[in-house]
Subunit: 165 residues, 2 copies
């Protein structure tokens, strides 16, 4: 069982063997679901695969469009949204609020307070989990008397690959 976090590094790599990313994400997901006793059904698996079809965030209706014809009938909104809800509950996918879109988590299995990096040039979405950021946020919030339950941190900017063009 690999389960390394190599995927974390790849979002902004211009060229890499992306089919390996997909394979790795799917096999990690299968292992996690197995371990938790939840079911990675064909619909859920297919949605996860399509979310991972690039390192960009994917729109729900684009997923539907890609699933036209390949399931028995056309995939309707509830089918896709239910699958996305499941994948998010299991931490396999994150929602990108500032884009109304969804991206595969490169480090599933451990819960985390991730910070997303969204390249406005190439659309790639990376993810980091910086303890100093989490600490600074917690400190600042508690000075304001605020008790944090969840965080949404999304940075828009230019990724390394796009800067070096």
């Amino acid at each position: 069982m690999p389960m390394d976090s190599r995927l974390e590094e790849l979002a902004f790599e211009a060229a890499h063997d992306h089919s390996a990313c997909v394979r790795e994400a799917l096999s990690a997901a299968a292992a996690i679901c197995e371990e938790r006793g939840v079911r990675l059904t064909p619909v859920r698996r297919r949605v996860l695969e399509l979310v991972w079809s690039s390192h960009q965030a994917v729109k729900a209706y684009d997923l539907m469009a890609q699933m036209q014809g390949e399931m028995a009938q056309a995939a309707k909104p509830p089918t896709v949204y239910r699958a996305l809800d499941f994948l998010m509950e299991q931490g396999l996918v994150h929602r990108v609020d500032s884009l109304n879109a969804y991206v595969g988590c490169p480090t599933p299995g451990r819960t985390h307070r991730e910070q997303l990096l969204i390249c406005t040039e190439c659309g790639a979405v990376g993810e980091m989990e910086d303890p100093a950021v989490a600490h600074a946020l917690g400190e600042a919030a508690s000075r304001a008397g605020f008790s944090v339950q969840r965080q949404t941190v999304e940075l828009q900017g230019i990724c390394g690959a796009c800067q070096s063009v």
Copy 2:
């Protein structure tokens, strides 16, 4: 011209003279628009006033509903969205991405990289601008080779007022 940042403190104050918040926000907006040579038209002013009708984030279609009948005709979506776009450009209002809603900025006039605090109990939305957070985010992003242009930071949790109930 007051232009203090007292408003910043009030989002989570259980009881306060909120009509003063509204007055202050509107007069600050008028001053800022005057100074910049942009027009705070009646539509824009009314939208800003309604956004400030509480310290909660307000939905665009709720604004429309409240404007029914008071303008010549019913307010249609483009009217409200154009006003919101203007107010956001001028930094008088922020969009809360995680809620698809809009909140008045308590410290307009200076551009800032704000962090929003959203109480899941009472719905109030406060705002802070913590240098340590900004610094940690910048550091972490640049270690990832990422050049930040904009940030979306929204913390969901329980505000001081709701904790002490």
